[in-house]
C-alpha cells in the first residue's frame, strides 16, 4: 500500500532522512519507532507532501512524489498529526466533517464515513457539539483520529497518538484502533511512537528509525 524508495530529506542543510526504503502491505499495521528527533515526524510529513524529498513515495503502487500535498488526502490518506491540531474555531463534529466537505464527498458517502468514525469511537458522538478548543488532550486525539478516518480509506497515519495519554485513555485509544482494524481489515495503519514496547503487541510490521535511517522488521504475524 505504502512504499518508500530511496527517500532523502534535508532540512536547513541537515539530512534528516537518509536513503529510506520500506513498504507496508495493504492491511498492515506499521509501527514507526524512534526517539524524538530521529525522523519519525519527517517521515510522515514526507508522505503528506510537506517536505522536499528526493526518491519515490508510492501509494497503492502509484507514485505520489509529485502529487501536491493538498491532493494526497483525496487519494485515501488520513493523517492525525502530533499534538492533535484541531481547528478550534469549529465544533468537534465540524472538525470531523471538514475533510469530507473539502473533498466534496456526497452526502451519503459522508454519512457512511461519519458512521464508521462513530462506530470506531462511540465517545466522539457525545463530544460532537463541543467546541474543539475545549476538549481535553485525550479527547482531542480521538477527534484527530476521527478526522483522519474521513479521508483515510487506504492509509491512516497516526503521529505519536499515545503521547500524553493517561493509561486509561491510551487503552481506549488502542481499543478504537482494534475496532478500526476489525471494521476495515484492508486499511493500512502507520503509527509512530517513541516507546518500542508500547506498540509491540499491536503492530505487525516494525520500522525502527534512528538518525534518519529506517530498518524494517517484519513481525512474525505478517
Amino acid at each position: 500500500m505504502l512504499e518508500f524508495d530511496q527517500v532523502n530529506v534535508s532540512m536547513a542543510g541537515v539530512q534528516v532522512l537518509r536513503r529510506v526504503s520500506f513498504r507496508l502491505a495493504p492491511g498492515a499495521t506499521g509501527a514507526l519507532i524512534g526517539h524524538n528527533g530521529a525522523g519519525k515526524t519527517t517521515t510522515v510529513r514526507t508522505i503528506m507532501g510537506f517536505t522536499e524529498a528526493t526518491g519515490d513515495v508510492r501509494l497503492a503502487g502509484e507514485s505520489i512524489a509529485k502529487t501536491p500535498a493538498h491532493l494526497r488526502p483525496g487519494l485515501g490518506v488520513g493523517y492525525a498529526p502530533e499534538d492533535r491540531r484541531l481547528f478550534s474555531a469549529f465544533t468537534v463534529e465540524e472538525n470531523v466533517l471538514l475533510p469530507a466537505r473539502v473533498g466534496r464527498l456526497s452526502a451519503a458517502e459522508t454519512k457512511r464515513r461519519l458512521d464508521r468514525a462513530y462506530d470506531v469511537m462511540p465517545e466522539l458522538k457525545e463530544l460532537a457539539a463541543r467546541p474543539a478548543g475545549s476538549v481535553s488532550g485525550g479527547q482531542g486525539k480521538m477527534v484527530a483520529l476521527g478526522r483522519a478516518l474521513m479521508l483515510g480509506t487506504k492509509l491512516v497515519i497516526l503521529d505519536e497518538p499515545f503521547q500524553g495519554l493517561a493509561p486509561v485513555l491510551a487503552q481506549r485509544y488502542a481499543d478504537a484502533l482494534k475496532r478500526l482494524r476489525a471494521h476495515d481489515p484492508d486499511i493500512t495503519l502507520l503509527i509512530t511512537e517513541s516507546n518500542p514496547k508500547l506498540l509491540a503487541a499491536f503492530a505487525d510490521t516494525t520500522l525502527t528509525i534512528e538518525r534518519g535511517e529506517i530498518e524494517q522488521h517484519a513481525a512474525a504475524a505478517a
Binding site: H70, P81, E94, L98, P99, L151
Partner: protein, 299 residues
C-alpha cells in the same frame, strides 16, 4: 449644546468608522491568513476609488442608479485583478522566506502602484459624486447629513461584518479559510489547497480595501497620495483591535472614529494624533491588541 455635540459627533464618527473599518478588516483578514502586513493595502483603497469613479462617470449618463453597482463592480475587479496578481506573482515566490521580505515586497508594490496611479489617472483631482447626490439628505438637530454617509456607509459596514461572519462560519470557503488561518499544514492534510486559500483570501482582503475606496469615492476628491494615509490609519485600527480580529476591527474603528469626531468638536488640534495615541496606549497595555489572543510558546 453638549448633547447636540454628542449626537453629531457620534454620527460623524460612525460614518468615518465605516470606511476605515472596511479597509482595516481587509488588512486584518490578509494578515490572519497569510501573516503578511500588506503595506500596499492603501493603494488598493486608492485604486478602488479611482476605478469606481471612472466606472461611475462612464455609466452615470446611461442611468445614475447604475453608479451603485459600478462601485461594487469596481471593488471586486480591483480586488481580484490587482490583489490576484500581487499574491500570485509577487508574494507567492517569497513565502517561506524572512517575513520582512514579504513586507518589503508590499512596500515596493505600494511605491509602484502610487506611481502608476499618477500615470493612469493623472494628478488632477477626480470627483464622481453621483451616488452621493442620488440619496436624499437627512436633518439631525438642524444639521443636514447625506444619507449616503450616515446611513448607507454604516449599513454597508454592518453588512460586511455580518456577511464576513456568515461567510467564515457557515460556508465551506469560509471554513477552509479559518482552517488555514489556524493551521496551514493540518488544513493541507485534510485536502485543503492552502495556496488557493491564500490567493482567494488576498483577493477578498484586497476587494474590501477597494470597496472602502469605491464607497469613499463619491464623497471625496481622488488625488495622488490618497492611499498613504489610509494605510497607517488602517494599521492603527487593525493593530489596536488585534490583528485578525474582524468584529474587533469594527469595534475599534468605531472607537477611533468617534474619538476622532469628538476631538474635532472639542480640541481639533489633536485630530491626527488620536488614532496613534489610542494605538500606543492599547498596545502598551495589551500588546496583542484589544481583542487579540496571547500565545505561549512550547518548550
Amino acid at each position: 449644546m453638549d448633547s447636540t455635540i454628542f449626537i453629531l459627533a457620534l454620527l460623524d464618527g460612525v460614518s468615518y468608522a465605516a470606511l476605515v473599518f472596511l479597509v482595516s478588516v481587509g488588512l486584518s483578514l490578509i494578515f490572519s491568513v497569510l501573516r503578511i502586513v500588506n503595506v500596499a493595502h492603501g493603494s488598493l483603497y486608492a485604486y478602488g476609488a479611482y476605478v469606481a469613479a471612472t466606472l461611475s462617470l462612464a455609466v452615470a449618463p446611461i442611468s445614475p442608479w447604475l453608479t451603485f453597482p459600478a462601485l461594487l463592480v469596481a471593488s471586486v475587479a480591483v480586488g481580484v485583478v490587482v490583489g490576484g496578481v500581487m499574491e500570485r506573482f509577487l508574494l507567492r515566490p517569497v513565502y517561506g522566506r524572512e517575513d520582512v521580505l514579504q513586507l518589503l515586497i508590499t512596500f515596493a508594490v505600494f511605491m509602484i502602484m502610487d506611481n502608476l496611479q499618477r500615470l493612469i489617472w493623472g494628478v488632477q483631482p477626480i470627483f464622481a459624486s453621483t451616488p452621493l447626490k442620488l440619496l436624499p439628505n437627512v436633518s439631525v438637530l438642524g444639521v443636514s447629513y447625506t444619507s449616503y454617509q450616515v446611513i448607507l456607509l454604516p449599513a454597508v459596514a454592518l453588512l460586511t461584518v455580518l456577511g464576513l461572519r456568515y461567510f467564515l462560519r457557515h460556508t465551506l470557503a469560509g471554513a477552509v479559510i479559518l482552517a488555514v488561518t489556524e493551521d496551514r499544514e493540518a488544513a493541507t492534510a485534510i485536502g485543503v489547497d492552502a495556496r488557493r486559500v491564500f490567493l482567494v483570501t488576498f483577493m477578498i482582503g484586497a476587494s474590501l480595501a477597494a470597496l472602502g475606496g469605491a464607497l469613499a469615492s463619491p464623497t471625496t476628491s481622488l488625488v495622488p497620495g490618497m492611499g498613504a494615509d489610509m494605510i497607517v490609519l488602517s494599521f492603527a485600527v487593525a493593530a489596536t483591535a488585534g490583528l485578525g480580529q474582524i468584529e474587533g476591527a469594527a469595534v475599534t474603528a468605531l472607537m477611533i472614529g468617534i474619538a476622532r469626531a469628538f476631538v474635532i468638536y472639542l480640541q481639533p488640534e489633536f485630530e491626527v494624533l488620536v488614532p496613534y495615541l489610542i494605538m500606543v496606549l492599547v498596545l502598551l497595555i495589551r500588546p496583542m491588541g484589544l481583542f487579540g489572543v496571547d500565545k505561549v510558546r512550547k518548550i
